[in-house]
C-alpha cells in the first residue's frame, strides 16, 4: 500500500498485545509490512505479550520465562508498543481510536486482537473477596497470595474451581501446586464435556482424584457464601451440601472481548465475537480487522492459539497485498497432560458421522481408556466399493496418549486402516525376561521406549521379529533421535540373543553381509572406487542410509577426493551431502574452522558480518568455535564464498571426521604453562583436518597438568610436561564419558605426531561404523596394550604403512568448501527448487528469541498460492 495522500506513512493500530496481537506484529516485521507502514500497539496489561498457554507454569518458572518479547520492545523502530494503555472507543468515521487517558490516535487500518475474557456466571456472591478468574499473570499472583493466607485455625486454605473443562482442570492443577485442597465443580455429568465421552471422563476423574483433587460432576452452584466480612466462605450447591472454601476460581468458559466493536457499530456474531470474512476483515468496515479469540470468522470463535496465529499471518499477508490467505476453519484436536495425565481428543470424537463405529479399549486398573472412531472407506480409485476397509474419523485417549501422534494425522488422510484397527490402541505385549533392568525401565527417553518394548520387538515367539539393532531401531524408534541410548539398546538386544543362544548378526545392513572393517579391507584389496562396483561384487540391492555413508567414509579414507564428486555424492549422509549440519526446520548451520580456538579480531569481525548480513543465529560452541545457524540451503554457497574470501575453511562440523583440537592458552601467556599448547593444537588440527573416520574425532592439548583444555575427554589428548608431552587416547564426553588413558609419556613433538598418525590411521581402518575410539579400544583383544603394541612398539610392523597413509591424507587435503565453490556442477545442487532456484522454501519460517532468529516447525506442508505463504522475506 502506498503512502497516504498527506505523504505520511500509513499507520496500523493494533488493539491488544496478547499472544495473537504479538504474532501479528512479528509477522508484520518479518514479512516486511513495516517497510511501508508504521505499527502502533496498545495493550491493556502491565506486561508485554506472554505465553498464556503455559500460564500454569508461572508458579514454577516466573513471569520472565513466559514472556514472548523478553526485551520488552520490538527491534524494528517502526513499531511502537504501549503497555498499560486501554483503547476505550473507536471513531470509525474519523479513523481514530480513543485511549483511556482521553487522547486519540489515528489509524489507516485497525487490527483488533483483544482476546477473550473468562465468563463469570451471574451467581450471588461472585464479587466477594476470594473470587478469582484464571486468565492473566495478575490473576495467578492474586490466587497465589490468597493461597498463602492461612485459615483462622492455621490450616491451609481450600479452593473450588467452578467448571471442569480444560481450563478448569488447569486451574485445579494450579491450586494443587500451591498446596491448596482443590475441588472441581462441573455442571455436566463428566469432566471436559466438550472433548470427552462419559467413559473417558470417568477414567479422567479416577486419575485426577488419585492426585488429590475432589471432583463433583452433575452439580449446579447456586451462590458463593459470605463469611460475614465480605470474604468467601464456601460454595452453595443445588441438591447437595455446601462446600467450604476460602478461594473460588471461575472457569466456566470464555467470551470474546467484542465490546469495543459493538459500541462502534461493527457486526458481531450471535454467540459473540467480531464478525469477519475469510481475510479476517470486519464485514461492516473494510479498515477494521479482528484476529484471535475476539474474532468470529463465519460466526464462530476459536479458543485456541493456533487458529489465532493463522489469522494473524493472513492479515499481515493481506495488508501486504497478498490475495492467497483465507481462514476456513481450524483443527480443534486437543492433546494435553493434565496433572500428569495424558488426555487427547481429536476428529469426530463422539462418532456423530453416519456409519461411524467405535472401537474401545479400557483398562480401569491401569487407568486407560482409548477409543477409535472409524468409518467405512469410500470407493477405491477405480470407483469400486470396498468391503471391510476402514478409515479413522476420530478418537479419545485417556491415560496414555502416546499413539496420538500416529492417529491424529490418519484422520482426514483418507488412509485405509490396517486389517485389525484395534491393534492401534491395544497395549503392546511384553516379554517377561529379566535382564538387569526392569522391563518398565525407559531405555530411550527421547522416544519413550522401555526395555519391555525392545524385548517385544526381538521376541522370537512374538509377532515382531527384529533380527538386529537396525531393525529394532526402525521398529521401536529407540535410538533414532539423540542417539545417546544406542549402546544400551544394543546391549539389551545382544543380552537377549545371548540368552537364547542366537548368533549375533554383524552384517552392516541388509545389503552387506560384512562388517565395516571387512568392507574396508575388500575395498583396499580390490581398489574399488564406486558404490556400484562394491555392491555388485559383495552385496545386494541398491543400499540404504546405513551402508551408503559407511561406503562413502571408507572410500574417502582410501582415495581422498571430494565427497560430493560424482556418484559418491549420492552416498553421503544428511550433513555431508550439503557440507553443513541440518537443523530442525531444514535450514543448516555453518561452522568455519577456528584451529585450536585461536582467532584474530579481524576473523571475528568477518564472522560477525556474515552472520549479520545473512540474519543467522550465532553461538559459541562447546568446541571453541562459532556456529552460525539458520542458513537456507541455497544461501550456503554465498555464505561460504564470503568466509573463504576471508581465509576461512570448512570446520567439518558435519563430517564423521576431525572436529576440533581444543587448546588452553599455554606457556605463551599462562604463568603455569610449560609448553606452547596453542601451537601444537593448531598444528594437529591442521594435520588431521578432513580425515574421514568411523565416527567423529576430537583432540585437546593442555599446557600443563592443570588440564584446562580437558584434553583427557578427547579421542586424543596431549598434556605438556617439563620434558615434552604425555599422549592419552580413547576419551570422550557425550552420553558415556570416558577419560583418555596414557599411551606414552614425555615424548617430543615429532614422536608424538608419529604415534598419533599411527593411532588414528589404525582406528580409521579397523573400527566399526559409528564406533568412537574408547569403545573401539575396548573391543580390541588386549585393549589399550594392543594399541600400544601396534602404535609404540610397532609389533605388527604396520607403523610405516600407517604413517604413509596419513602422509597421503595430509598431502591430499583441500578445503571442501572452496572446491565446491569452484565447481558449477557441485554448486548446482545448492538450490531451493530445481525449477525455481531463487524461490526460498515457504516451509521455512523463523521467530525471534533473545534477539536472534529461532526456527519454527510446521505440522503441515505450506502451499503457495492456495493458502498462506509463511516465509519471512529474506
Amino acid at each position: 500500500m502506498s503512502p497516504t495522500a498527506s505523504g505520511r506513512r500509513p499507520r496500523i493500530v493494533v488493539v491488544g498485545h496478547g499472544m495473537v496481537g504479538h504474532r501479528f506484529v512479528a509477522a508484520a516485521v518479518e514479512r516486511g509490512l513495516t517497510a511501508t507502514h508504521d505499527v502502533v500497539v496498545y495493550g491493556e496489561e502491565r506486561r508485554v505479550a506472554y505465553d498464556r498457554v503455559a500460564l500454569t507454569s508461572f508458579f514454577e518458572v516466573g513471569a520472565d520465562a513466559l514472556s514472548l518479547l523478553p526485551s520488552g520492545v520490538y527491534d524494528d523502530p517502526r513499531v511502537a508498543l504501549h503497555t498499560e494503555t486501554s483503547v476505550v472507543g473507536i471513531d470509525r468515521e474519523a479513523r481514530r481510536v480513543r485511549l483511556a487517558d482521553g487522547t486519540t490516535a489515528s489509524y489507516d487500518e485497525l487490527v483488533l486482537a483483544t482476546g477473550a475474557a473468562p465468563f463469570v456466571p451471574p451467581v450471588p456472591g461472585k464479587d466477594l473477596d476470594g473470587c478469582f478468574v484464571y486468565r492473566t499473570i495478575e490473576d495467578l499472583e492474586a490466587i497465589r497470595d490468597a493461597a498463602a493466607r492461612p485459615r483462622a485455625d492455621g490450616s491451609k486454605a481450600r479452593g473450588i474451581v467452578i467448571g471442569g473443562g480444560l481450563l478448569g482442570l488447569e486451574a485445579a492443577n494450579a491450586l494443587v501446586q500451591l498446596g491448596v485442597e482443590a475441588h472441581v465443580v462441573e455442571m455436566a455429568p463428566r469432566l471436559m464435556p466438550v472433548q470427552l465421552d462419559g467413559a473417558a471422563g470417568a477414567t479422567l476423574v479416577r486419575h485426577i482424584e488419585k492426585l488429590g483433587v475432589h471432583v463433583h460432576c452433575g452439580v449446579v452452584s447456586t451462590e458463593v457464601l459470605d463469611d460475614g466480612t465480605g470474604r468467601v466462605a464456601g460454595l452453595g450447591l443445588r441438591d447437595a451440601d455446601a462446600l467450604e472454601a476460602e478461594i473460588v476460581v471461575f472457569s466456566a468458559g470464555i467470551r470474546p472481548r467484542d465490546a469495543l466493536a459493538r459500541e462502534a457499530g461493527l457486526a458481531v456474531a450471535e454467540r459473540g465475537g467480531i464478525l469477519v470474512d475469510e481475510q479476517l476483515r470486519s464485514t461492516t468496515d473494510p479498515h477494521v480487522w479482528a484476529i484471535g479469540e475476539c474474532a468470529a470468522p463465519a460466526g464462530r470463535m476459536y479458543g485456541l492459539v493456533a487458529p489465532g496465529y493463522t489469522m494473524a499471518e493472513i492479515v499481515a499477508d493481506t495488508l501486504l497485498g497478498g490475495t492467497a490467505g483465507a481462514f476456513t476453519g481450524a483443527d480443534m484436536s486437543t492433546k494435553l497432560k493434565l496433572l500428569g495425565v495424558d488426555v487427547a481428543s481429536f476428529g469426530d470424537a463422539f462418532a456423530t458421522g453416519p456409519d461411524a463405529l467405535e472401537l474401545v479399549f479400557a483398562d480401569a486398573v491401569a487407568g486407560l481408556y482409548k477409543k477409535l472412531v472409524v468409518g467405512p472407506a469410500g470407493p477405491d480409485a477405480d470407483g469400486n466399493p470396498r468391503e471391510d476397509a476402514w478409515v479413522l474419523l476420530g478418537g479419545i485417549l485417556v491415560g496414555d496418549a502416546s499413539s496420538y501422534g500416529v492417529l491424529r494425522p490418519l484422520v482426514s488422510s483418507g488412509m485405509l486402516l490396517p486389517e485389525n484397527p484395534e491393534e492401534l490402541i491395544l497395549p503392546e505385549s511384553r516379554g517377561a525376561l529379566q535382564l538387569g533392568l526392569p522391563d518398565e525401565a525407559v531405555v530411550c527417553s527421547c522416544n519413550n521406549v522401555t526395555k519391555g518394548d525392545l524385548l517385544a520387538a526381538v521376541d522370537v515367539d512374538g509377532e515382531h521379529r527384529c533380527e538386529d539393532l537396525g531393525a529394532v531401531k526402525a521398529c521401536t524408534s529407540a535410538g533414532t533421535t539423540c542417539g545417546s541410548c544406542v549402546t544400551t539398546v544394543k546391549g539389551v538386544i545382544e543380552d537377549y540373543f545371548g540368552e537364547i543362544g542366537k548368533a549375533v548378526d554383524t552384517s552392516l545392513c541388509e545389503h552387506f553381509p560384512l562388517t565395516r572393517q571387512e568392507l574396508f579391507d575388500v575395498v583396499a584389496v580390490h581398489g574399488y572406487r564406486s558404490f556400484t562396483e562394491i555392491v555388485e561384487a559383495h552385496g545386494t540391492g541398491r543400499g540404504c542410509d546405513i551402508c551408503k555413508p559407511a561406503v562413502a567414509s571408507v572410500l574417502a579414507s582410501q582415495t581422498g577426493g571430494h565427497v560430493l564428486e560424482g556418484e559418491v555424492g549420492a552416498l553421503q549422509d544428511t550433513n555431508d551431502a550439503y557440507l553443513a549440519n541440518i537443523q530442525r526446520n531444514g535450514t543448516y548451520s555453518v561452522v568455519p574452522r577456528i584451529a585450536g580456538g585461536e582467532i584474530t579480531p579481524e576473523g571475528l569481525i568477518v564472522i560477525g558480518e556474515v552472520a549479520r548480513d545473512f540474519g543467522l543465529y550465532t553461538k559459541i560452541t562447546g568446541g571453541q568455535r562459532i556456529d552460525l545457524f539458520g542458513a537456507r540451503m541455497e544461501e550456503l554457497p554465498l555464505i561460504w564464498s564470503r568466509l573463504v574470501d576471508a581465509g576461512f575453511e570448512s570446520g567439518h562440523a558435519y563430517g564423521k571426521s576431525l572436529r576440533t583440537v581444543k587448546s588452553c592458552v599455554g606457556s605463551t601467556w599462562c604463568r603455569y604453562g610449560v609448553q606452547d599448547s596453542v601451537q601444537l593444537a593448531i598444528d594437529l588440527e591442521l594435520r588431521y583436518r578432513g580425515l574421514r573416520s568411523p565416527h567423529k574425532l576430537k583432540g585437546g592439548v593442555s599446557g600443563c597438568a592443570r588440564e584446562c583444555a580437558e584434553a583427557r575427554s578427547k579421542d586424543f589428548g596431549v598434556i605438556a610436561t617439563e620434558k615434552g608431552w604425555n599422549l592419552y587416547v580413547g576419551g570422550n564426553g557425550g552420553a558415556t564419558p570416558r577419560h583418555a588413558q596414557l599411551l606414552v609419556g614425555d615424548v617430543d613433538t615429532e614422536t608424538l605426531v608419529r604415534y598419533l598418525d599411527r593411532y588414528l590411521m589404525y582406528y580409521v581402518r579397523t573400527a566399526d561404523r559409528l564406533q568412537r575410539t574408547a569403545p573401539w579400544i575396548e573391543s580390541l583383544e588386549g585393549g589399550l596394550d594392543r594399541v600400544r603394541e601396534i602404535v609404540v612398539e610397532d609389533s605388527l610392523g604396520l607403523g610405516t604403512e600407517l604413517e604413509a597413509a596419513m602422509a597421503r591424507h595430509v598431502e591430499g587435503y583441500f578445503d571442501e568448501w572452496k572446491a565446491t565453490l569452484e565447481d558449477p556442477e557441485k554448486l548446482s545442487r545448492f538450490v531451493s527448487f530445481v525449477n525455481a532456484p531463487g524461490q526460498p522454501d515457504p516451509n521455512i519460517t523463523f521467530t525471534t528469541e533473545r534477539g536472534q532468529i529461532k526456527p519454527v516447525n510446521l505440522d503441515e506442508p505450506v502451499v503457495l498460492g492456495t493458502s498462506i505463504p509463511v516465509g519471512a522475506p529474506r
Binding site: V406, P409, P418, G543, V834, A836
Partner: protein, 119 residues
Amino acid sequence: MSAVRAEGPTTTWLPVCTTDQLSRERGVAALVGGRAVALFRTYDDEWFALDNHCPFAHASVLARGIVGTRGDVPFVASPMLKQPFGLRDGVCLDDPSVRVPTYPVRVVAGVVEVGVGSP
C-alpha cells in the same frame, strides 16, 4: 503401481526439469503447483515424486534423503531422523500408518513432468 501414483482423468502435467538435471539415486526439490515436491530418480531410471514435507520432522526435506532399496522397494530415508518412505506409494516402511502424498511422474522428450490435480 499403486493407485496413489496413477494418472487420473483430471491430471495436469507440469514440466519440472530436464532428465539430466537429476543424477541417479538422488532427489531434488521442485515447486509444483505451489507445493514443495521431492523428485527422485532411481538407479534403474524410474522416476518418483513425493511431497517434500517429512511428517516426522515437520520440515520440508525429503528430497535431501539417501535413496536406496529395502528388499525390492525403492525408498528414501528422511535426512532428519531416517524414517524410510517407499517411493512407490509414500508409505513409511517402518510405520505404515504414516504416508506422504505421492504424485505421478512421466518423462516426455527428456523433460520430467509431475502430475497434479487427480487422486
